[in-house]
């Protein structure tokens, strides 16, 4: 089963399931990149609230996806990291996840909008901070 991608304005939203498979990762990357390339979205927010752990394997997948989105001219933000996940990542080694983060989905969407606006992108809703 493909991981669903929702569209909120010009931002794509996706929630990773706990038991994410390799195939799902590839499908998700292809789907998101296609939407960004088609000019239908400026960025992607990946919610990991449901992920039971973020190990180095998952960290690599997340960073890789963010890099691909960036290459396509979009921005990617990671949202919903649980405190235990964050503490474990810090203990394992800094720099395991190389991407922007936000507290929750809402914060992620705002961050995408802000980042697109600050680099002069086509996002027209500029939130005031």
């Amino acid at each position: 089963m493909r991981v669903p991608i929702l569209r909120l304005g010009r931002v794509l939203l996706t929630s990773l399931p706990a038991d994410l498979t390799d195939q799902q990762v590839m499908d998700l990357q292809i789907d998101a990149l296609a939407l960004i390339q088609a000019g239908k979205a400026d960025g992607l927010v990946i919610d990991i609230t449901a992920a039971d752990v973020v190990d180095s394997y998952m960290a690599r997948i997340l960073s890789e996806t963010a890099k691909m989105v960036k290459i396509m001219g979009g921005v990617a933000v990671l949202a919903g990291m649980q405190p235990a996940v964050a503490l474990t990542l810090v203990e394992m080694g800094r720099g395991m996840i190389d991407m922007e983060t936000a507290f929750d989905l809402e914060g992620g969407v705002a961050k995408v909008a802000r980042m697109v606006a600050s680099r002069g992108g086509r996002h027209d809703e500029v939130p005031t901070t």
Partner: protein, 137 residues
């Protein structure tokens, strides 16, 4: 509190098995009074070692977790073992960023930082065995 050791064994050959092993690890740790954060750390260490069994050996291997309670304390032993190709240079494999398969190369060094005691033995052509301990005061 029980003085009998609480043992969980998972045979790991696929990603699905790795997910089962880390879920078992978290449940075991919580059952023996470890905090959510410590249980999560153990689950992550198990995930790293289990994924190494999936990615770096042909036939996978075994994850065995043994919890032992004592008065006001507990210890969990984590063993990952396989009959895979072995690791020719252990010092190199323990370095941050070293990977023979394009991984992040922080599974082994990261696991060492997550646990209280870490020991690894490996013989080329025979296999690898990693033993870790996590303690609860």
């Amino acid at each position: 509190m029980s003085l009998e050791p609480d043992v969980v064994t998972v045979n790991v050959t696929s990603e699905i098995d790795a997910a089962e092993a880390r879920q078992e690890a978290r449940r075991l740790a919580l059952r023996h009074g470890f905090t959510t954060v410590r249980a999560h750390g153990l689950a992550t260490a198990v995930s790293e070692l289990a994924m190494n069994l999936v990615l770096h050996t042909d036939r996978g291997g075994l994850i065995r977790l043994t919890a032992q309670d004592a008065t006001g304390a507990a210890v969990i032993e984590l063993v990952a073992e396989d009959n895979g190709p072995g690791i020719p240079d252990l010092a190199l494999a323990m370095e941050d960023g070293f990977s023979t398969r394009g991984g992040l190369g922080c599974g082994l060094p990261g696991t060492r930082r997550l646990v209280d005691t870490f020991a690894i033995t490996s013989r080329v052509g025979e296999g690898t065995r990693i033993v870790c301990l996590v303690r609860r005061p």
